[in-house]
């Protein structure tokens, strides 16, 4: 009896490792092609052409990180991804991807297929940044150009993340794009990337915004306008407000104001004639960080004048951006419709179907408030003696 028990126990001990070690698809890290970034272009005959940057880590004493670029084509995104195996020999691994660059042509045709795959596949994570290439090709952004880091895609990620103190491009992760696509009354925006020549070198530059309607690209707005857009969207985390000398008699000197905090509230109201008006109230806290003259803009009187003039500038800029977007694109990138839907669902239900037309003629009332908090290290402007 006892021996039978022992035999059974031994058998059990042998069986347990077989059951518990359920590594059907065990993969070593050096057998994986870890994808850092990917550029997606239109290939021939409506195919997708994907260019992936693969991180290669070589271990040992002087471990190095390098990157390698592979281009594959396929009828769908996933087809192209799997075709990559025949070029790299490794199965691409998508959990550590940082950026996706979509070519302009593809964006104009529609990006829903790209979004779907990245959201649907279990290996990809929907939290990486999406970019639209301003130039024709997305591939060259990854291929050409200098790198600061070992891996180009990591560079791009830093560029996007540090926009918080520049505010000239939005930050859009894939899932945000997907949410905006699904949401009513809001159009998606994506940062734009281009190749830029400086000091005789070509570097990628992230600046400006690509405007989408549904999943199709409509056009771009530049960096400065992007900042105004971020003001309306309440997405400003930092950046500068510039007061420029305009040559008038009692003009201010050029001043740089650094934004520390900004809050924007958008409230829809219904006017007496039944039309909809958006009230945009923005409150910004700034500091004087640069003064291009010796006029005193720091004392009470000068400060007030500076605040007023900054408020005025911001107001005109916001208004002109809204006008531009209304007339040129007609895509509700500010999410006015979504706001209306949240606050006044009944009104929204009435205008939902013709929101595009209504948005184009929507009235806005902009109120800006700029508060100067300090003047950095110096209490007074520089004095210019003779």
């Amino acid at each position: 009896m006892k021996t039978i028990r022992m035999i059974l126990l031994a058998l059990l001990v042998f069986i347990i490792p077989l059951i518990t070690a359920s590594c059907w698809n065990y993969r070593e890290i050096d057998k994986l092609g870890v994808v850092a970034g990917v550029a997606i272009d239109r290939g021939k005959d409506g195919k997708y052409k994907i260019t992936v940057e693969i991180v290669e880590v070589s271990g040992g004493k002087d471990s190095k990180t390098e990157s390698r670029i592979i281009t594959a084509e396929g009828k769908t995104i996933f087809d192209a991804v799997r075709n990559g195996i025949s070029l790299s020999g490794k199965r691409l691994y998508w959990s550590h991807t940082k950026v996706v660059i979509i070519s302009r042509q593809l964006a104009v045709d529609g990006v829903i297929q790209v979004l779907d795959w990245f959201n649907r596949d279990a290996e990809t994570r929907a939290d990486f940044h999406i970019l639209v290439s301003k130039g024709e090709s997305a591939k060259e952004v990854l291929e050409i150009g200098e790198k600061n880091e070992d891996v180009k895609s990591f560079d791009l990620e830093y560029m996007i993340e540090n926009q918080r103190s520049l505010s000239k491009a939005p930050q859009t992760e894939i899932w945000e794009f997907t949410n905006e696509l699904a949401a009513q009354g809001v159009a998606a925006v994506v940062p734009a990337i281009e190749l830029y020549k400086t000091n005789g070198k070509v570097v990628p530059r992230i600046m400006g915004t690509a405007i989408f309607k549904e999943d199709k690209l409509l056009g771009f707005i530049d960096g400065e306008e992007t900042k105004d857009m971020l003001f309306i969207q309440n997405e400003i985390k930092g950046g500068l407000l510039i007061e420029q000398e305009d040559g008038a008699e009692d003009a201010m000197p050029s001043v740089s104001l650094e934004v520390f905090n900004s809050k924007t509230k958008v409230e829809p109201t219904i006017l007496q004639d039944g039309s909809i008006q958006m009230n945009i109230n923005t409150e910004t806290i700034v500091a004087i960080d640069e003064i291009g003259g010796s006029e005193n803009v720091i004392d009470e009187e000068g400060r007030k004048k500076l605040e007023q003039s900054a408020e005025e500038t911001l107001k005109t800029r916001i208004e002109s951006l809204i006008k531009k977007v209304q007339s040129e694109y007609g895509a509700d990138i500010f999410g006015f419709g979504a706001k209306l839907r949240e606050d006044k669902p009944k009104v929204w239900a009435g205008v939902e179907n013709r929101w595009e037309d209504i948005f184009k003629n929507l009235q806005v009332k902009v109120t800006t408030k700029v508060h100067i908090r300090n003047s950095a290290m110096m209490a007074k402007p520089l004095e210019v003696g003779d």
């Binding site: 059951i19 359920s22 059907w24 698809n25 929907a126 949410n179 839907r341 949240e342 669902p345």
Partner: protein
């Protein structure tokens, strides 16, 4: 045979985990979109009358399990017929729960591993637990619930940076219809599934405990479900209804600094444990019923057979994940309605009559 007994606390913990079980990962109230949390509250409100019925049945027959109650009140033959129905329900529900787990692991973590492997792993552990008896399941739950709550609370806090409160507005924009529908589907999955606990709570100590256990556990688990639904809405917005496993995706959005991210698989532990308890309870009730049906001395002799059958059945019950979703959200509420509402109410009526009669006859006997 020694009588099995569990304390009220253990019973509450088991019931809470049972209710949260698969709901945590499958998500609820998809029809109601951003009002799903209201559907959750509605589900609790709808569930309260029916758990009163369950507790009343239990308190009329202290120490008796579902099948004994059935044969006492409905007589031998009808009692056995209804018993077969409940055995089927418990068996089927257990299989569905195991399949949910299998699909989850298969889609999220191990797409190339055959779905049978995670299911048989879970099923074997469930068999061991059921063979050990209801006391062991109760004690396990009492140990694990604090850990589960801790994980849920931590995740809830970590995900706050990803909140977008505007996703919750507008409240009730689509009217009450979808919310009522969502509330009903929440009522049947998971709240009224607790009907199976009539087959477990024979082991409670006192007559009154069943009320306390049912109430406390339903409210508590309901509150957690509402909170988690709110979180999922605030994080996922319009994407919510399109996902198989919304909680998993919501948690995957957590990214604190560069280092605290990708914790969703760790969070799946909560789900694994919930599913384990739920399928074990189902298996227990099914085995108990089969034991009574064939007048076995001890239900333990048939646990392994039933358990293995349950695993095989769960393997064949759905053809695909799409079918699972269709069944869980479209069909299940109607399929389960007789088991959850109609039979218990009829049973209660019969039981009340029986008890009154007995009292009268006892009183008559005294005279």
């Amino acid at each position: 045979m020694r009588k099995e007994q569990i304390t009220d606390k253990e019973a509450i913990c088991t019931l809470i985990i049972f209710i949260m079980g698969s709901t945590l990962i499958l998500g609820v109230g998809g029809e109601a979109k951003n009002d799903a949390w209201i559907a959750g509250i509605l589900g609790i409100v709808m569930a309260i009358p029916i758990i009163l019925v369950y507790s009343r049945i239990l308190s009329l027959f202290p120490g008796k399990d579902l099948y004994e109650i059935l044969s006492i009140t409905l007589g031998k033959i009808l009692g056995k017929v209804i018993a077969v129905l409940y055995i089927w329900y418990a068996f089927h529900l257990g299989a569905l729960v195991i399949r949910n787990f299998g699909e989850f692991v298969n889609i999220v973590a191990m797409p190339e591993t055959p779905i049978f492997v995670p299911m048989i792993c879970l099923g074997l552990v469930g068999i061991i637990a059921v063979r050990s008896g209801v006391e062991v399941i109760g004690r396990l739950s009492a140990y694990m619930l604090p850990a589960i709550l801790f994980i849920i609370a931590v995740v809830q806090i970590l995900v706050i940076p990803r909140f977008d409160p505007s996703h919750i507005k507008p409240i009730l924009a689509n009217g009450l219809g979808p919310v009522l529908k969502g509330g009903f589907s929440l009522f049947s999955f998971p709240f009224a599934e607790t009907v199976l606990f009539i087959g477990v709570f024979f082991s409670l100590k006192t007559k009154k405990s069943s009320y306390k256990v049912y109430f406390f556990a339903t409210i508590f688990a309901g509150a957690i479900i509402v909170f988690i639904t709110l979180r999922n809405i605030a994080v996922l917005g319009g994407l919510l209804g399109n996902l198989h496993f919304p909680s998993h995706v919501a948690v995957s959005r957590i990214s604190i600094g560069e280092f605290l991210q990708r914790i969703e698989v760790a969070v799946a532990i909560v789900f694994v444990f919930g599913v384990f308890i739920k399928s074990s309870v189902c298996l227990f009730v099914a085995c108990k019923g089969i034991g009574r049906l064939f007048n076995l001395n001890d239900y333990r002799t048939i646990v392994i057979q039933t358990g293995l059958l349950m695993i095989y059945f769960s393997y064949t019950v759905y053809d695909s994940a799409m079918e699972m979703r269709y069944w869980a959200f479209k069909v299940y509420a109607y399929y389960a309605f007789p088991f959850q509402v109609i039979i218990p109410i009829l049973l209660l009526v019969a039981a009340e009559i029986k008890v009154r009669k007995r009292k009268i006859s006892i009183a008559a006997g005294r005279e």
